[in-house]
Assembly symmetry: C2
Homo-oligomer: 353 residues x 2
């Protein structure tokens, strides 16, 4: 089991360190675990003058799974795209062909009160957003800022081919079969031709999964219903841009983005696993950050890349039990619970394992 | 005062009828009110074979303000763009150059419990989303589905020119001056060049309004913060697509989309006013729909197109008082209140006026 650890910037280093300990603790004794570290983001610029150093990409390619922390530095969007720490993640996703981004949003019952939604709306919430990750406005050409009629015009291209929609569609229906057999495809087919094609291909793919219910929803309605009645959803599949927005909104339903993992896969089993949160520069280096999202990313890794559901279940149970025991990092702290730092939370999970 | 009433389809007709009565009741005696009706959407197809008949567009152009209901028919996105009832609204916005879509999200204290968010999160909520309405992916060229390497590829173009961003920017800062002097510009400048230009121009426009605070936020973060802490916002200005999504999410914060009006303006005072909700075919013709969004659209019309703040205030007070008296349509009904139909709600507002 070859794992590349790309901890990156900000709190990425701290949370990844805890997640790695958990990984080492759950991997079956019979497995030879090979862990390598490489710099990415601001750390990549420092080490090799490139946010995604060639050696880092090469290491990632040769791995079975990647544990990613966070990358980016405040204001780095002012740099050219290839030099931006925050863009290193996009380049890595694209280079490895990781087109399927699984972003679960679930609620630990212990944290139901942390949500800004009423308890009766979010209790028992457990949905999966599947976001297409290598297409859409993120990568479409032409793009850029060009002069036109004496002023500048900014352009990006939303672009989806049939085969791109088809493969993320299959991933969605397969995921739904392991859950509640419902797929909601989110688009804007009433306005955008690219999304009409999306809807058409999804409908077509759906015919191969007669046991899974397929519905379609416009993105504006989906944003509303996520707030109104999120438990009606099982798997939501959508494009890169809509998925970026909806998955963050869905994450917020659970009250703490510090709790949520994600996993990105391509056509094989190589996957990149990362917490949904970013670098959080304001709290970096202070042993304050919540490592549970990174730890739960290891759970996803066990499930999706290594087909080790028992190891995954052990992690989930350990996290549940530390929450039940009252351990809380600052972001999920509530009076009456026990406030701990990053390392202490990691130790608590290890102890529970 | 020349008003074009384009009631359209579904519940559009019912709610517009009530709003029109309110309009007639609040217009000052000294004003000559000229009301004309014209078909749009499915009604346009029926009357003239075109969802936006030439005569309807002509009437709209010659008016001082348009009271719009709702347009669209289930599944109409399968028709060619120009023949789609739902697209008639887009064509009308574009033809009249209505680039600034004002979508307030505010909470009547009487309805705080209707929100799916906790009361302490939404109490006193009052924000304005200003959505650019004639640019972006909605109208950008090239667009369409074309064959490429043996398969079909769907394409749309996100496109913003400096002058397009500048004019919506000015509208945002002017609106903020009448409110709490805070503008949050929402973009995706970390990924999209079109949005980098957006951010740059907004920053530039902001320099002309030193008394207004300008912040920038990525759209994914904005979607989260709208749920987490919506009262931190005053005016949010954003592009057409992000605005479509965020304004519906913001609408949902208030608990009933049946309560929310919107207004769209161009460079003059001609405005189009419409409820945020759609045609709701499932409840159309049943005297069930909530007319308050349409009625509050007349309030916006009085304020934005006619500079009649007193007439506007009267409408707002009348709506508050019928809510305080316990009148509720089905969508906002709660035990202990008095359930009424569309017409009865309209009559109650008239009585309160
Ligand atoms: C950091 C940013 C480029 C990235 C994205 O938009 O994909 C992030 O928001 C995410 O969702 O992983
Ligand atoms: C009906 C649809 C085309 C429209 C839009 O996307 O603009 C609607 O969602 C709106 O927000 O007014």
């Amino acid at each position: 089991m070859k794992i590349a650890v790309l901890a990156g910037d900000g709190i990425g280093k701290e949370v990844t360190a805890e997640a790695l300990k958990v990984l080492q603790a759950v991997v079956p004794k019979t497995v030879v675990l090979e862990v390598s570290h490489a710099p990415i983001g601001g750390a990549g610029v420092e080490a090799a003058g490139d946010p995604l150093p060639a050696a880092t990409l090469e290491l990632a390619r040769r791995s079975d799974a990647i544990l990613f922390g966070a990358a980016g530095e405040p204001g780095d969007e002012k740099l050219p795209f290839d030099m931006r720490p925050g863009a290193s993640l996009l380049r890595l996703r694209k280079a490895l062909g990781l087109f399927a981004n699984f972003r679960p949003a679930f609620l630990f019952p212990e944290l139901a009160d942390a949500s800004s939604l009423k308890r009766e709306i979010v209790d028992g919430l457990d949905l999966m957003i599947l976001r297409e990750l290598t297409g859409d406005l993120y990568f479409g050409e032409p793009r850029g800022v060009t002069p036109e009629d004496g002023e500048r015009v900014g352009i990006n291209t939303m672009r989806y081919s049939e085969s791109e929609v088809r493969r993320i569609g299959h991933a969605a229906f397969r995921a739904a079969r392991l859950r509640n057999r419902k797929v909601c495809s989110v688009d804007k087919a009433n306005v955008l031709e690219a999304m009409q094609l999306w809807r058409e291909v999804m409908t077509d793919v759906g015919k191969e999964y007669p046991d899974v219910e397929l519905t379609h929803m416009f993105v504006d309605a989906a944003a509303m219903l996520l707030m109104r009645n999120p438990r009606q959803f099982d798997v939501i599949v959508t494009g890169n841009v809509f998925g970026d927005i909806l998955s963050d909104a869905a994450a917020m339903l659970t009250g703490s983005i510090g709790m949520l993992p994600s996993g990105s896969l391509g056509s094989g089993t190589l996957g990149l696993y990362e917490p949904v949160h970013g670098t959080a520069p304001d709290i970096a280096g202070k042993d304050i950050a919540n490592p549970l999202a990174a730890i739960l990313s290891v759970e996803m890794m066990m499930r999706l890349s290594f087909d080790l559901p028992e190891a995954a279940d052990r992690i989930r149970r350990a996290v549940s039990s530390v929450l039940a025991e009252g351990y809380r990092t600052a972001d999920i702290y509530q009076p009456g619970t026990r406030k701990v730092g990053t390392r202490e939370m990691g130790e608590a999970v290890l102890a529970a394992l």
